[in-house]
Symmetry: C2
Subunit: 575 residues, 2 copies
């Protein structure tokens, strides 16, 4: 019959590596079956109970208490194991050997390694914010691994950092790669032209390793902590990271990853990413998008796909930085008028334009609040479906009869606020046998009307058909081009072209916004890694393994973690 | 000064081609500036008003009244034009030449062309349901172009058709291609292995032409009418179409397209498509999905993308019909236990499993209602994140310390209902220097425990790392494989594998459902096209152009469209 013995130590701090080592060492003592060494939190008590080691004394322990439980064959073996606790702890502690060289304060550490631009913080959560504040005070970027840090602390740390042009990656930031050197948990990934910003630890690691496995490589991978894209934190670190990657000439493709974000914050971050001037792969977990791509933004739905997209975009020849030419339009020209015969084509255009224009009115809108009061009178940006039932009582479908569309086109061309007219020309059996013969003259007349009034009217015709259709597609296109129309054969491409054009016009009408962000200095990311490590020794060892400079602080909580005593000391300092 | 003259004709039916021709002919008369020939609906009056032709008499007209307005230079010219109306109408009417051969009843038409399996209906909406019912009565498939047909009529027509193994494509179905022959508005598209089912007219045309432009081709493209995927209609026609395409050996890839569907109906249709045994591209406009692919289902977000996906899938070597082997599991084994160290990896797995399993419990679930009551006790399908804050107070992260995971793995392996254990092994700097040395023995022991109890335990390890990581990824994989684990290096692939496996187990536990659908005979789609056309002559001409047989009915509404008289006749018939 196994027996259980327990020892409770109150108000003592041990780091979690020591606790793990102690538990293992105890379990290896003669006659010992199992051992548990945990802080007395409820969750940890449950874990003890699972292993049938939750004795009543342990049940009474507080979260600050260290609980040591030994399950052994007999009383003597259990007691013998417990008697060895101090010896086991101190043997572990002295194994490091070079403790003399470990500074006890961050100031000393910073003097020992003046090149250190980074402080890695993995001390227990309740101490982590204070340590991070110290680091920011010394002008260092913070890699904040610790979890159990309050949201208030996160916000105040990140605000302070942003105002100083510094980064706080975290809290609960498991991983980062800065210029090839991993911080925290980080894979060895080859260098290359992809830059990551991620509010997700293992998610970022998965994207990194998949990029590596697919033959790609990274400039940097910056973690932000999993809460960065909540409304409260408002993506402070992600914005800084995005800004860095956009400015970095070595980064050709940006990847943004996040745990489920606030939709509002995610939308704003995507908006900012639209101006990055390079492709941005966005994978916000569970953030469903109706479109797979909007200009330079590519939405992924898994880490694998994010990695694949990023790797494939590296070689893209597309110019993601170009802006459409809007100089040809006269002042005041700013609206779209879409005149569709195809209901679903019109619907797809509305859907795609959602990513470009705030409101598009229609007789068949996506959202009822954008319904035209009068289908015959356009308002601002308007796209109408002339094949809707309201127009087809006793009248042929607009794919057969162009009369209504031509009359409308004339009217829209006269409107001084109209910049773009978009219309579909659907070919095929059953449709008008020669639609361009009627539409082309109307288009030419509309363009002429605008020109005579000193305006430029852009007319885009989506020609939907095949080379085998009875109308002779090439001939139709020729007529429309001669009339001055720009031709697209893809509805998708036409909508995106129009969206970009009108968005550029809208942007040109907005007052310029001042950029208030204190940019993070790109050069600090490119210097050889040098850091101060506070907390888990494993993270200092990892830096040494990567041939980077590091000073590991011999950090202990004030008063050895005894909160009462720490409070007294704090009050004495205040005097 | 232009003058306006109007003539109202009450209770007369003219088809819309004649109205268009009449309007054009009037506008070409000497001294005439413009003309309007419309039925007196409110929308049409608005159109007249737009052209400044809405005189007070026209304003008074009813929807059944034909309104003829002429705008001319002077009174005499206007009157002269109006005087020619009857002459213009009858000259148009007699231009066909072969009216003698046009049957006045559908029965006669069917006798004239016994091979006709199709009836094309494009008569005005209020007559269209009646005509379609006649066609179904004669055992014909119906292509129902007409709009303005009531929802009630649509439902009753489709139910009747489905019970007879017939199709009603429509109402408001603009287009279809059956075995290469276009019905209604249809492009000439080469033959090939892609089959379409679409609740969208020009959307389907756009997909068809893009497929053709990309070098692909079609078996059939079946329209369903834009309301088919509403909750009321419940996708009756789309289900029939999907079933046809799934059974058709010539169709290698299916494309489903719809205007914004009811999410419930869309979900059910996708579920049905999962069993098609071939790739299915789904593009339901505005139907956002968190995943881009689920097994054989590929979600597109534009028509272009749907076409691209379909064309690319034609050459896929993947076996979409295979089912995972679940014979190795013992009876009662059915649940997943996921033990993750990576929070976001766990999250992605939950997200992907949503497409496979009804409920997965977790300590960090997607949906609060699936939160485990006790993180230490698994319930049915459970995936837990052992790196959650609750587990890491005074304890190393599970990427450094395997203790908690190993204890949990032992427990799960003992559970007779557990079929699959999924765990991640994250390599890299900072992580455990040799995790497989601890996890592999635990995995082997778990598999042994299950085996001794007569069960098969499937253990899948996601190894996330690179070949340059300090742990030696190949060595880690080797240890895990020797222990009996299946390895995946992609989290995405692992989740999908597990999803398919568990879904197959769940399916095997369900009682078999009886297939009550009256299948449409695949052979009628493959016969040479022969149809009876009721309504727009253009659609009959289009069939002739495509070298298909057609009988155009000389259809007129009962009593020439005079509803009062039609009512009297109807009552007399009843006696």
């Amino acid at each position: 019959m196994a027996i259980l013995k327990v020892e409770i130590r109150t108000g003592a701090y041990y780091d979690s590596v020591i606790l793990m080592q102690l538990q293992r060492s105890l379990a290896e003592q003669p006659g010992v079956i199992d051992a548990g060494v945990v802080m007395g939190t409820d969750a940890n008590k449950d874990v003890l109970a699972q292993s049938e080691m939750l004795v009543p004394e342990a049940q009474q322990a507080n979260p600050d208490d260290l609980v040591i439980v030994v399950k052994a064959d007999d009383e003597a073996a259990a007691q013998a194991a417990l008697d060895k606790v101090d010896e086991l702890v101190s043997s572990r502690r002295s194994s490091g050997g070079d403790e003399d060289y470990r500074p006890h304060s961050m100031e000393t550490a910073a003097r020992m390694l003046p090149d250190a631009h980074w402080v890695l913080v993995s001390a227990p959560g309740r101490y982590a914010a204070g340590i991070s504040r110290q680091a920011l005070g010394l002008g260092k970027h913070v890699f904040l691994y610790s979890d159990n840090v309050s949201l208030e602390d996160e916000i105040s740390l990140k605000r302070e950092a942003a105002s100083k042009g510094l980064l706080v990656m975290g809290p609960d930031c498991g991983t980062a790669i800065v210029n090839g050197i991993g911080l925290g948990f980080a894979n060895k990934v080859r260098k290359g032209p992809i830059g990551l910003v991620a509010a997700s630890g293992t998610g970022m690691q998965q994207v990194c390793v998949r990029i590596h496995q697919m033959g790609g490589g990274l400039t940097h991978a910056l973690g932000t902590g999993g809460r960065d894209l909540t409304e409260a934190v408002n993506a402070i670190t992600a914005r800084q990271g995005l800004d860095l990657m956009a400015r970095d000439p070595d980064t050709k493709v940006i990847v943004l990853v996040s745990k489920p974000p606030s939709p509002k914050v995610a939308d704003e971050l995507v908006k900012a990413a639209r101006s990055a001037g390079k492709p941005v792969v966005v994978h916000f977990i569970g953030y469903a998008t109706a479109s797979r791509r909007v200009d330079n933004i590519f939405f992924a739905t898994t880490f694998d796909e994010a990695a694949e997209l990023a790797v494939s975009l590296v070689d893209s020849q597309e110019d993601f930085a170009s802006e459409p030419d809007i100089s040809k339009f006269a002042e005041g020209q700013r609206y779209l008028r879409g005149l569709f015969s195809g209901g679903t084509l019109q619907y797809e255009v509305l859907l795609i334009l959602k990513s470009y224009l705030p409101v598009v009115y229609s007789n068949a809108p996506l959202d009822k609040k954008n319904k035209l009061e009068d289908s015959l009178v356009s308002v601002e940006h308007t796209v109408i479906d002339l094949g809707e039932d309201e127009f087809t009582v006793g009248r042929l479908h607009p794919m057969m009869d162009n009369d209504l569309r031509i009359r409308r086109l004339e009217k829209e061309a006269e409107d001084p606020e109209v910049a773009v007219i978009l219309l579909d020309v659907v070919l095929g059996y059953g449709a008008h046998s020669d639609p361009a013969s009627e539409l082309a003259p109307a288009i030419a007349a509309g363009i002429k009307t605008a020109k005579e009034a000193g305006r430029h009217l852009e007319v885009i015709a989506i020609v939907s058909g095949t080379d085998e259709d009875p109308q002779d597609m090439d001939g139709q296109i020729k007529l429309l081009v001669e009339a001055g129309a720009k031709i697209e054969i893809s509805n998708d491409a036409a909508a995106r072209y129009v969206g970009r054009l009108l968005q550029a016009i809208e942007r040109s009408n907005e007052p310029p916004t001042e950029d208030k962000m204190q940019h993070v200095d790109l050069e600090t990311l490119k210097k050889p890694m040098a850091g101060i490590n506070v907390g888990l020794e494993a993270f200092a060892e990892a830096l040494i393994d990567q041939e980077s400079q590091v000073v590991h602080m011999d950090w202990k909580p004030v008063a050895g973690g005894n909160e009462k005593l720490a409070g007294i000391l704090e009050r004495m300092k205040g005097k």
